[in-house]
Symmetry: C2
Subunit: 202 residues, 2 copies
């Protein structure tokens, strides 16, 4: 099931049209695999939703296994890109934490299938699952360590903090999309950020 | 797949021996389903590991679906019981948070299959999955609201805090058992508790 790390990922389309088609197929896969689950989802259904011929799928992806792995990686990249855009130019780490959380929850609301797909990766492609979180954790850890170094936040273990803060975001996103709680993103961000900045102590 | 809520759960054994057998079958199911996944796990393999006759299974559980649902519920109950024991008699909320987190991580280390089973419940029995986290969240929320009321912690939204703190524990437990990071539980608890108590602010 797992893609061998030495095999190159999906072929890179050379043209803008090719890239648009590849994105349409990935978007369709997100919807179809997210709704039906990996086993029930078929390449035929994915190409039907993407409105491309079934043969077109194979120009971009070798198999359902490959598009699934690529989908997990691509959702991770998109999410990190959104967070990066939302926090770009913000000088202080505490404000960046707040806007990063807001960008995360906004992305998750726009991609309600993210949780199901990433959770299913734990069974379908454990390596993609671990890479998804490790990549986040590594970036997060570096950012936190840097913020400690320049004195923007209190000293503390950047690795454990990174996983703790990722856990907060993941849990609050899941509360919204899997548990259907409809607290506004602004309210969630405000309450969570208050906890992240000040802690529970009086 | 989902157990109808109106059907009573597994029959309650009337004798200590019956209860011991039921527990042995559940412990075997934890190991077998955790390792093989729900689809690959068989009742034959569960009874083999539990060292009981296959027919004995049906004295306690109707089907693989039923034992899976009961396993998720039972793991939730055991975990809450451990946390409750570890925090019993601790008067202040901040210390209870620390010891609760320690108990959580200790339980998770002793039940490495917990994550796989609970995550798989999202696909096999979504209702059991949601009940697992909702039950935790409800208890957590009440505890936090009470601590605010008596002035032990800063005022703040108990619902969002409950999910945020659950997320921290879940993420740090997963880091250990799924990602194989071997920071000691004491070190993880100390760093995470510092964040929970004081936040990131200097």
């Amino acid at each position: 099931m797992m893609r061998n790390e030495s095999i190159p990922a999906a072929k890179e389309p050379k043209t803008a049209k090719g890239e648009a088609t590849r994105r349409a197929i990935l978007a369709a896969a997100e919807m179809v695999i997210g709704r039906l689950g990996f086993n029930e989802a078929s390449i035929g259904e994915i190409t039907r939703v993407a409105r491309v011929a079934q043969g077109t799928f194979y120009i971009y992806f070798k198999s359902k296994d490959e598009i699934f792995s690529e989908l997990v990686a691509e959702m991770g990249r998109s999410l990190r890109h959104e967070i990066s855009m939302a926090t770009h130019g913000i000088a202080d780490r505490l404000t960046a934490e707040r806007e990063g959380l807001r960008a995360f929850l906004t992305f998750v609301a726009a991609h309600p299938e993210l949780y199901r797909i990433v959770q299913e990766a734990q069974f379908v492609d454990p390596e993609a699952y671990r890479a998804y979180f490790r990549t986040f954790a590594n970036g997060y850890r570096h950012g936190l360590a840097e913020a400690v170094k320049v004195g923007e936040i209190r000293p503390g273990d950047a690795e454990i903090r990174a996983w703790a803060l990722m856990g907060i975001a993941r849990s609050l996103g899941e509360r919204a999309v899997i548990f259907g709680e409809n607290t506004t993103i602004d309210d969630v961000v405000q309450s969570a950020h208050d906890l992240i900045v000040h802690g529970l102590k009086r």
